[in-house]
Subunit: 666 residues, 2 copies
């Protein structure tokens, strides 16, 4: 064994045992994947990754995504050993309250962790989003001899990622787009929690990826042959026209005499005895959590390399500034993440003259107006472009041959679409991703929407066809419970605007909110412009649209297409002598972030006669209607019929709102 | 042209124009797919499908699933023409209120429609479930020379189905299991709503399916060459060891001079002029909705054929009864869908002696007890068998080589798992499907869960690790909003049992409910047995667990693992002189189906001091706590730390419940 290979073996064992020791100490975690994948992790990080541990946010770094998020200790070990701000104490605190080293990787918690993974398949789709971002920016900004965007996206997948549908969707699109900057390492250990993968998974993964248009490489000796791993990564980097999958044959829990190759090391600690036996087996005599100085010395060369890389890139940027000052100004503004001054003034005044129109149509106007002002706006639809009104007049669609465009045909791939948008947002280059589908199909992408919220990704979800008023397509396509179920997600702002002014307010709020997602629920059908609505007030989440003199006897609360019913009902009730206030409540979450005085001013506790009107589930509305109130909602599935017939037959009429209100005051 | 081909062409045109006319009349719908897929639909139904239009529920029929559900008029036309109870008036009422011909196919609404489709990819996964059912029953019951289960599952997929991740999951598993009774016709028309599929979809679909282990056949002249279509279906039927994909090249909107081959015919009517031009182009001179008698005469031969098939099968069954009386009795009991008398008595008495134990462990005991009594119980987990406790001691796993078993390793394929279970339930053979994963990953399968409810499929969802008490795995794996968001789905019973007795009650309720899904939310952590709980009372959804004398001053309402906190808090509050009632509310939906007197007796309106305690989102709890109440819930994401630490730090302690309660009475 040469000195070099000896040293490299030590580095790999250091990774393995940091993982095994941390899991043992926590009595919880997944040691198997880190121990098996340590060689590929080491080779990638030691020989290929261009990053700067002391400047983890450096723009032109390579990105690394641990799609097999349960192997988090692999990533923490690599981060620690290469010099990120993760100490041995942090490693010892693995999976403990307040630690930088949670059970699955979380961006914002751990320096150097790019995205939050764990739910399988999300990470590979995030990586596809990052690769799209990098290709897009490179196509827009790079100049001959001056590459300001020049990095790769590496992702590590496990068997579970391969089985999840979201990864099939994302990888199919990655192949279609020829994402040559994407390199996926597949930890092909043939073990899942239930046992050997051949219990349920016998497909030919390489052939599948070839069918997607990927380059597929195989590393047969992934446990031991670093040169074979390195040659494969080299070949993947050399292929710039296609994404690459490297199938690395490994042994889960490598080195463990009794548990290697078994599902018993998937999600359970080795335990003291087996840990000791593994140390002996691999010739590792360091104490628990002890890392030989030689390992640090070698691996922390990454910090010097990283500083040099960043320095070189700064020089490239200087040259770019000199030669292409306009492009440089735009590029730097973009990657700063700052929104351009005054961009919101471009939002169209969608008042009376814009109506009657569907809020999805008004949404299209806002998107197009914003696209002119926000160079980072980029997005598309899951094959519903004409229905979602997501097309950008100023842009063609991104394709393999022209990556400078800003529209994305995601295909009928909702789940991947959401996760790709998370990846675009978390690429951290100032891009503002939006994506559209029918609201009903939020169900298909809920795994990704939740992660937008958890990982603070400022994705804008453009969800049209937002109620039973969808009509003829029937109950499969008519949202009922969706708005309620989305409101329940912590950190997601759900906006259901009533007219053009509120649509503009919703977009302003969504764009402004760069640290979390906003979902817009938009009507298929036309709605009128309403007196008293306001973009600015809509941004407060709830406000008085129409008031009576003095304390109202009754408050009608509406959202979206039903706000107009409330206004008309209020007029009728007033004719009957009931003093009525109408409150528009387009975004509960924003309303709940207002101060208590404002909230009390809009919805005084003393007024207990309240009727909420929303063409969706009543679930949750008791929060605002209170024990004495009522709601005009729908708590069953819809039916196939023209939208206006559905609305009328399910009680979304002025007469029914009036009658329900009367029931409270009589 | 021969007489036969002439007649067949007329049949195909009848299908095409029933679709085009119905869409034109409704001014809504998707004519393109039916017009392009009419030849394959005709050949399949006319030459191959074994079914009985006058007896649509006949057990041994071939099943047909229109996974491309937007082409519903293809199916309605075939049903009408072959003699199902769908009249021309029904066709004329396409997409209208109360019609048998809704926008997308819905089982229970239209005779002969097996499953509800429309959300893309669901149908192919349902078909995989049906194919599993048929293979399983055949393996259990068929005898040499006596095949009581002998039918195929046909499914028609579009491009959208191919792109959805759920279909990748389902088709990978179908290949693994060698479902030779599954034949998928892929309407390969290369057009989606956004335009040509090559905008976003350039993968090699045949190669992908070969990588899954499917037989792949290609029909090049799918618009015109009926013999080529027939030969492919014949070859698919002949292959019994592998599922078959037949890629049929078609033209969307075939025959339309200006719209054929274009996305403009995907989701929009042809319109009168183009309809007329298409009639001329295809030489069709029948009036709108007019079907030549020769077409009826030919296609309704299906009814005689069907009667003969059913008759022959009845004879087979007679012979089977004679020769294998025990098997026959079991088989007939099973396919009757009736539950065995007294099965519920086998549910274990999981009282004090079973505790402390996690409700997921107690769930495993119930499942195993039920498996002995319910010959139709069949299910598995998405690669979390040991965590979900879903294994059956009495059964090995289904495999290609032994389909008689009752356990299914679904792999890490949650979305397909749900849809496969829908297919098993809707196969209509008395099988009772259950499936398990972590509650957090309900998000991945929500599209299928919603369809369980909408299509009245009695699937049992075994969702473990139901709160932040999951602990170390962290926020990605800790459900917060999931229970609320599932409660919002109409028709889904969500059960969160507190201890063993309630787990048994939950299973009794879930099994009994054959016309709708039940989801069980089960704890990872151990819980105590509680005085006053009851399986029978739990089946009411909500009941008094612990009471005071007379009218209580305060009601504590708990579910699942937090019910014990309520009981302990009540004891403490009573020591302070507050008379407290504790209500267990394991299933809101069942409680809400009780009569008003019962509900008032449990939760008297007069008692407004109420505290709800649930380790999940408070969203929706205002329904029970009312304006004057409070809730101990969590409305943010959790964190990675030991479960008990999470519970304590997020306020799920007796002390915090007591303090919250005191805040109301003081």
């Amino acid at each position: 064994m040469t000195d070099r290979s000896n040293l490299e073996s030590r580095c790999i064992n250091a990774i393995r045992f940091l993982a095994a020791d941390a899991v043992d100490k926590a009595k919880s975690g997944h040691p198997g994947l880190p121990m098996g994948a340590a060689p590929m992790g080491f080779v990638l990080w030691d020989r290929f990754m261009r990053h700067n541990p002391k400047s983890p946010g450096w723009f032109n770094r390579d990105r690394f995504v641990l799609s097999a998020g349960h192997g988090s200790m692999l990533q923490y070990a690599l981060l620690h050993l290469t010099g990120y701000d993760i100490s041995i104490e942090d490693i010892k605190a693995f999976r403990q309250w307040g630690a930088k080293t949670p059970g699955h990787p979380e961006n914002g918690v751990t320096p150097g962790v790019e995205v939050t993974t764990g739910p399988l398949g999300q990470g590979i789709a995030n990586a596809v989003g990052m690769a799209i971002s990098a290709k897009h920016l490179a196509a827009r900004f790079n100049k001959p001899g001056c590459k300001v965007v020049d990095h790769n996206i590496y992702v590590l997948m496990g068997d579970g990622c391969q089985m999840e549908g979201i990864s099939s969707e994302a990888c199919s699109l990655a192949g279609h787009l020829g994402l040559g900057n994407l390199v996926a390492l597949y930890d092909d250990n043939k073990i899942t929690i239930d046992g050997p993968t051949d219990l349920t998974f016998s497909e030919d993964v390489p052939a599948r990826f070839e069918s997607y248009g990927w380059q597929v490489l195989v590393v047969e000796r992934g446990n031991t042959d670093l040169e074979e791993i390195a040659a494969a990564i080299e070949a993947a980097r050399a292929e710039t026209a296609r994404p690459s999958l490297i199938c690395v044959r490994t042994t889960i829990g490598y080195g463990s005499p009794h548990k290697a190759g078994s599902s018993s090391t998937h999600g359970a600690p080795l335990g003291a005895d087996e840990n000791q036996a593994t140390r002996k087996n691999l010739g590792w005599d360091a104490a628990p959590f002890e890392v030989p100085e030689s390992v640090y010395t070698h691996m922390r060369k990454a910090t010097d390399r990283g500083a040099a890389l960043e320095e070189a890139w700064n020089k490239t940027l200087d040259a770019y500034r000199d030669e292409y000052p306009n492009e440089a100004a735009l590029f730097e503004e973009l990657i700063s993440g700052e929104l351009p001054d005054g961009y919101a003034q471009a939002l169209p005044a969608l008042g009376d003259e814009a109506h009657p129109a569907a809020t999805r149509v008004l949404s299209g106007k806002c998107l197009n107006a914003l696209a002119d002002e926000l160079p980072g706006l980029i997005g598309g639809s899951a094959d519903l472009t004409p229905s979602n009104n997501t097309a950008l007049k100023s842009s063609l669609a991104i394709s393999k041959d022209d990556f400078s465009q800003r529209y994305i045909h995601f295909g009928v791939r909702e789940h991947a679409m959401g996760a790709i948008c998370n990846g675009i947002a978390l690429h951290g280059s100032g891009l503002i991703p939006y994506c559209g589908t029918f609201l009903s199909f939020a169900d298909y992408m809920r795994g990704a929407i939740r992660l937008s919220a958890l990982s603070h990704a400022g994705v804008i979800y453009v969800m049209t066809h937002d109620s039973i008023a969808v009509g003829e397509d029937g109950p499969t396509h008519q949202p009922v419970e969706h708005i309620a179920s989305l409101r329940a997600i912590p950190g997601l702002d759900v906006f259901r605007p009533a007219d053009g002014r509120e649509v503009a307010g919703a977009y302003h709020a969504a764009v402004e909110r760069r640290d979390g997602p906003t979902l817009l629920a938009l009507s298929r059908q036309s709605v009128p412009s309403l007196d008293g609505t306001s973009a600015e007030k809509a941004m407060k989440g709830g406000y008085v649209v129409r008031d009576c003199g003095g304390q109202p006897a009754m408050i009608l609360i509406g959202t979206g297409s039903e706000l107009s019913l409330c206004v008309a009902a209020a007029e009728e009730l007033e004719r009957e002598g009931v003093s009525v206030r109408v409150v528009s409540m387009p975004c509960w979450e924003r309303f709940e972030r207002q101060d208590p005085h404002y909230r009390e001013a809009v919805l005084p506790k003393a007024v207990t006669c309240r009727v909420a009107v929303e063409a969706g589930s009543g679930f949750g509305w008791e929060r605002y209607t209170g024990s004495a109130g009522a709601a005009v909602t729908i708590d069953r599935f819809g039916t196939s019929a023209p939208g206006d017939v559905c609305m009328e037959n399910f009680g979304f009429t002025v007469a029914n709102v009036v009658q329900t209100a009367r029931g409270l005051v009589s």
